[in-house]
């Protein structure tokens, strides 16, 4: 559901960080904000929170310009994880172009992960999106904790689904960029297929990824 305006040479993309309450969605965005270069990126906007719980959403916008002059804005949102904010989740999830599902690795959270993933499936269907064709990655966060589900078990469970899974400890900044890269990689494939980013706009996947994620310093825009 990419928003594309040919006359203005603008494209707006939307990514959503979804997952159960307290699984570290906002922390992921805070770390991306810290780790990724400042140019071509807006500030992280954290809408109202109560006791560190997101009640609306967080927004981290990216802005890049393709060699053809095509302006691409990528807005990364988080949703509130608490069950009671389902209406907000649905509103934010509307028209998304990709989802990162942030799961809590703690053994005690398995049920919540599952319930949240089911709510993701339901809500995607409700807003008219097909989970099978949507760029989707799963991040198992909080790997730094002790009582966590074993990695082998996670791969055994999620392997058959074909959904890429990453391990992270967002609080320490590990795995955060990897998760985002995987999602952006899939997002590129999806829009390139339809809007011929490489052929028509001179925006190769490598360049797209580099502009979006390069952690090291990069050359400024012309």
């Amino acid at each position: 559901m990419i928003e594309y305006n040919e006359s203005e040479q603008r494209m707006v993309l939307k990514l959503v960080y979804y997952g159960p309450a307290m699984s570290g969605k906002t922390t992921n965005l805070l770390q991306l904000h810290e780790l990724l270069p400042h140019e071509g990126r807006g500030d992280l906007m954290v809408l109202d929170t109560t006791d560190d719980r997101t009640i609306y959403f967080d927004l981290l916008p990216f802005f890049i310009v393709a060699p053809s002059g095509l302006k691409i804005k990528i807005k990364v949102y988080t949703v509130p994880g608490q069950v009671r904010h389902d209406a907000t989740r649905k509103a934010v999830l509307q028209r998304t172009d990709g989802v990162a599902f942030i799961a809590d690795s703690q053994l005690s959270e398995s049920t919540n992960n599952l319930a949240s993933f089911e709510s993701l499936e339901n809500n995607l269907a409700l807003v008219g999106l097909n989970i099978d064709s949507l760029p989707l990655v799963i991040q198992f966060n909080k790997r730094d904790l002790k009582t966590v589900v074993e990695e082998g078990d996670i791969h055994r469970t999620w392997g058959p689904t074909g959904i890429p899974v990453t391990m992270a400890s967002a609080i320490n900044g590990t795995g955060v960029v990897e998760t985002f890269s995987l999602l952006v990689d899939r997002l590129y494939d999806k829009i390139d297929y339809r809007y011929r980013l490489a052929d028509d706009h001179g925006l190769e996947k490598g360049m797209f990824l580099q502009r979006m994620i390069s952690v090291v310093e990069r050359e400024g825009d012309e």
Partner: protein, 430 residues
């Protein structure tokens, strides 16, 4: 080729232009402040270079002293242009930077507020719509349940009425059955005397013929003018021939027997009439003891010789009741007792009055009623007999009738192990 405009509406986070995020009232004072501070001209242009806001002292000319970007979600959407004499006013570039910083901060804060409002409104609207929908569903289901409850009550009432009708029909049938049984017994009772009355009358008919023959003999002899001596001799022979000695001796017995039989029949009819109370259908003053006696007498054919009847009837004041109902009660209880024991049955009927109530007890020496059945014997269709032998309505009729009389009925153990039905009736004074 894609359509040139592919706009889709977002619920939240729709793309905004600088004009939508910044208000004139927020921008103008800042620009004017900088002009007052010494700038010649301060202009804000969009990404295409079109002027959006401006404050000027001197007409815009030459190159801007500073040109700083305004960002909306990381995208450069405009520029702050400050014109002036940089030499005369060396602080202008720094003030320009300050202005850009202030405007960028206002943009971020306004955007945050707009997004918050958008999401909040969306969620509230969605929740409201959901609530309205849920409310409608609840109203509908409530209406459905109310309708169901109403029709349920109606259906229960209908079924109850049907059951009541069926029940009273059954009670009526049972009364008819009891009366039918009684009628069969009484028919037998009447048939017996009628049998010998008929037989006697046949014999008497023959005897009358013989007497006639004797009389015709005398008339014929008289007409023939036969001599007295000859007539005497002939008539003796004829008398012998017709065995009139025996016949004369028998006639008396036959007639008295026949009369006794006829009296027995009229006695039975009188009992039956008394028992059925065909003449008194309404509530009258009834002597309970008399009703018991009437019941015993209509049942006499079943009781005589096989059942020992013990009467312990004390004088009772008259009771206001429908006598037919009362005799029905006694009939059914006694018939029930008769079915409990084939031989050697003893029935003890006792009545007593304690000044307030009449107590009637009908006890037998049959097998009695086991305690587990006592709570159920008055229920319709409860029977311990084989299927087809009893409908289980006899005692239900008794219970119904006693209730109608305003009394109570219970069953207890009789002294010799049988059942003792105890009826208590208040003496209704009017």
């Amino acid at each position: 080729m894609m359509s040139s405009q592919e706009r889709l509406s977002y619920v939240v986070g729709e793309e905004k232009r600088l004009r939508e995020v910044l208000a004139d009232g927020e921008v103008s004072p800042l620009l004017q402040g900088l002009v007052r501070a010494g700038a010649d001209n301060v202009t804000i242009v969009d990404a295409e270079g079109t002027e959006l806001w401006a404050a000027r002292d001197i007409a815009f000319a030459g190159e801007p002293l500073v040109a700083l970007p305004l960002n909306l979600e990381g995208e450069p959407v405009g520029k702050v242009l400050v014109f002036g004499d940089g030499t005369a006013r060396p602080e202008l570039p720094a003030m320009g930077k300050l202005l850009a910083l202030a405007l960028n901060t206002v943009i971020t804060n306004n955007l945050k507020r707009i997004l918050t409002t958008e999401i909040h409104t969306t969620v509230v609207n969605t929740s409201f719509e959901q609530l309205v929908e849920i409310n409608q569903q609840l109203t509908q289901s409530e209406a459905r349940y109310r309708e169901l409850a109403e029709s349920l009550e109606r259906r229960v009432n209908e079924r109850t009425a049907e059951l009541k009708k069926a029940h009273s029909h059954l009670l009526q049938q049972e009364k008819m059955a009891a009366i039918g049984q009684l009628a069969a017994g009484i028919a037998h009772e009447i048939n017996n005397p009628l049998g010998f009355i008929t037989s006697n009358l046949h014999t008497l008919q023959k005897y009358v013929n013989r007497f006639g023959a004797m009389l015709y003999f005398f008339r014929d002899q008289q007409r023939l003018g036969t001599s007295i001596a000859e007539v005497r001799e002939l008539s003796d022979r004829k008398w012998q021939e017709l065995k009139l000695d025996v016949v004369s001796a028998d006639v008396g017995d036959l007639l008295s027997q026949t009369l006794a039989g006829a009296e027995r029949v009229s006695g039975i009819v009188a009992d039956l009439k008394g028992f059925s109370h065909v003449d008194e259908l309404g509530v009258v003053a009834v002597d309970v003891n008399r009703e018991i006696e009437l019941t015993l007498s209509v049942l006499s054919h079943q009781l005589n010789g096989t059942v020992e009847i013990v009467r312990e009837l004390q004088p009772l004041p008259p009771v206001k009741a429908q006598p037919a109902v009362l005799s029905q009660v006694f009939l059914n209880i006694i018939q029930n007792a008769l079915q409990s024991k084939a031989e050697g049955l003893r029935l003890t009927l006792s009545t007593a009055w304690d000044g307030n109530r009449i107590r009637i007890s009908i006890a037998d020496n049959g097998p009695g009623i086991p305690p587990e059945h006592r709570g159920r014997i008055f229920e319709p269709f409860f029977t311990t007999r084989e299927v087809g032998e009893g409908k289980g309505m006899g005692l239900a009729v008794v219970y119904d009738s006693v209730l109608k009389l305003g009394g109570t009925i219970a069953v207890a153990d009789a002294a010799d192990g049988g059942a003792d039905f105890i009826i208590t009736m208040p003496l209704n004074k009017e």
